[in-house]
Amino acid sequence: MEALDSLLVGFSHALTPTNLLWALIGVVLGTAVGVLPGLGSAMAVALLLPVTFQLDPTGAFIMFAGVYYGGLFGDSTTSILINTPGNSSAIATAIEGYKMSLRGRAPQALATSAIGAFLGAIISTALIAFFTPTIIEVALQFGPAEYFALAMFAFLATSAVVSTSLIRGLVSLAIGLTIAMVGIDQQSGAERFTLGIPELFEGISVVTVTVGLLAFGEVLHVAARIHRDPARKDTVRGTGRPWLSRADVRRTFPAWLRGAGFGIPFGVIPVGGSEIPTFLAYGNEKRMAKRRAARKGTPDEFGSGAIEGVAAPEAAASATAGTAMGALLGLGLPTSATAAIMLAAFQQYGMQPGPLLFERNGELVWALLASLFIGSVMLLILNLPFAPLWAKLLLIPKNYLYAGITVFAALGVYAASSSVADLVLLLLLGLLGLMMRRYEIPLAPVLIAVILGPLAETNLRRALTENQGDPSVLVASGISIGLYVVIVLAVGFMAVSRIRERRMERRAAEAPADAEPRG
């Protein structure tokens, strides 16, 4: 098997002491930002991007991937222990996980979530290691029209699915596309939206946009409400040995696999992250428990700490990471904010993810894929016995934590270009990030639009030029028609489920007030 040979060569590169060290730094950092609420792997990679410019690219990507995976392992720890999800991908885990911890089963919940995250990551990483050659064969048939369709797919899927409202998603998309257009047009040399400011001729750097929106924007958002929110004392409880009994394993093992099954396809669909599959996996387990209770009389533990409710969402979340890496490397399609920033990192090193990456930078790609396995094992070791220790990170005073992030943001943006003008942009983009958070406009579409916008424009214009301006070329191949059909179906599905949701809400609002749950 060709893939197996390449993977073994990859392992020989990944197992060097330096690359192991980068993997370890990555997974430790990733777990830390995963544990801390408000911070995430996207912000961590954005902050690391400029300061790692001098590194060997293989080491840098091994570290970034470690951060990405680590974020998905770490986010469940505080969900379970103190009901504070480290990231949106762990909200579903918090529902049953915190209940388990209230019943004194926190060690079991933590073990279930760590092993679930490990299994999800390993299964999906193995899938992409063996199936990327197939993805590449499809991707090699892509022309400009197909790439444009792929970018449209990414734009609309992120805007329509990830946000609570389609309109706010489109607002975010429009802002991102506008930022992407600033600068001198590569094809014609025309100056666009620069207002004659020379610092803008080269465009607004992706580093500045991501650091400004994700890091400084988050600092401002925290500043906007830190003195308004009631102060919370976080007490970390629940230590003990993370043993799962045989009965536990019998219940969780199928749940892990089902969860991974939900996660794997969502890694390839650009919906801006792993929240959706975690909720789908959670809902599925809940329904199955109800059915089991009705059929066999086994007690339905959902609502009082069901272990399946922890196992499935965790496996789903980390399963998206593997396939998201596959989509990124094989197609050049970023399906989450973190993947989008990693795509920007590839561009910074002068590489373009996609089918040709495996030919031109095969050594790097296979070392990266091998290090994903190594990183998953490291994460299991770091998270299984030490989860309560990680939760102690919450004891870092908030003022120092966010002051450190601000200094790091300024450092990264300045170091990337040695330009004070970029620091001014950082400030403006931070304020934009604050406004978007305040009005619940999602951030992922901006990032995907900034990174894929130029690709979309170039391919659209190339496709039209090649066909003397005839727009029918955009829907001339099966691949592009297929992608547009999927877009229409996805947006239609979302619209229908939103309307149904709203109708249910209205019905609930019309119901007598005392039926409303309290507390």
């Binding site: 607002v171 906007a224 003022n399 002051a403 450092l411 300045y414 214009r461 007030a513």
Partner: protein, 206 residues
């Protein structure tokens, strides 16, 4: 939608405060206005763009036209959405003070706190501009000082400013931590990773 609106009375917790104007709770209209202003800017810049001669059809203006249309549509749609939807009540004034209304058990209080922690929308309703202002001010001072004064001191000023804004009040300790943090960054990233940071006035000493 409009025809049925008068028939269904607004539910009590979404009704605007008595005395508040129609605009109360509709500050998002400012976002819509900003989007439309951006669309106008895009349209103006696209129309006056200097296009090099001999550029063929899908030239540099083609994509901006599409984005301008999207931006306009998004701005109008957002304005309509905000205007039609019942306004979000300002959390501090119109939300019932549950804690005062009825005695709460310890557990109930904890759950309440957890809820505000994971669903910050209500608390975020009003932005604490003073704290945001100090953070923004610290970054502005940093931008002004960086090249003349150097990384070490301006980085420390930025760290201290943000820490102070977020409630750090142990001034002497915080200044110390800020200086240590910015020195460690300098040593680590300039020394070990070869980044280029301005040395400034301390350049001769270090």
């Amino acid at each position: 939608m409009d025809a049925t609106a008068p028939a269904t009375p607004p539910s009590p917790d979404t009704r605007p405060r008595p005395g508040g104007s129609w605009l109360t709770g509709r500050s998002e209209l400012a976002v819509a206005a900003l989007l439309l202003a951006m669309a106008a800017f895009l349209a103006w810049q696209t129309a006056t763009m200097h296009v090099p001669p001999e550029t063929e059809f899908p030239g540099p203006r083609f994509f901006p036209v599409l984005v301008t249309i999207l931006m306009t549509a998004a701005g109008i749609a957002l304005a309509v959405l905000v205007a039609v939807k019942p306004p979000v009540p300002a959390a501090d004034d119109s939300a019932p003070h549950e804690a005062e209304a009825e005695p709460e058990t310890n557990l109930g209080h904890m759950v309440q706190d957890q809820a505000t922690g994971t669903h910050p929308q209500h608390a975020a309703e009003t932005i604490d501009w003073r704290t945001v202002g100090i953070v923004v001010g610290a970054l502005v001072v940093f931008i002004v000082l960086l090249e003349p004064v150097g990384w070490l001191l301006s980085g420390a000023v930025l760290f201290f400013g943000v820490s102070y804004a977020l409630g750090g009040r142990r001034i002497a300790l915080d200044i110390g931590i800020a200086l240590v943090f910015s020195s460690v960054v300098q040593l680590l990233f300039v020394g070990a990773l070869g980044l280029n940071l301005p040395a400034g006035i301390l350049g001769g000493i270090l």
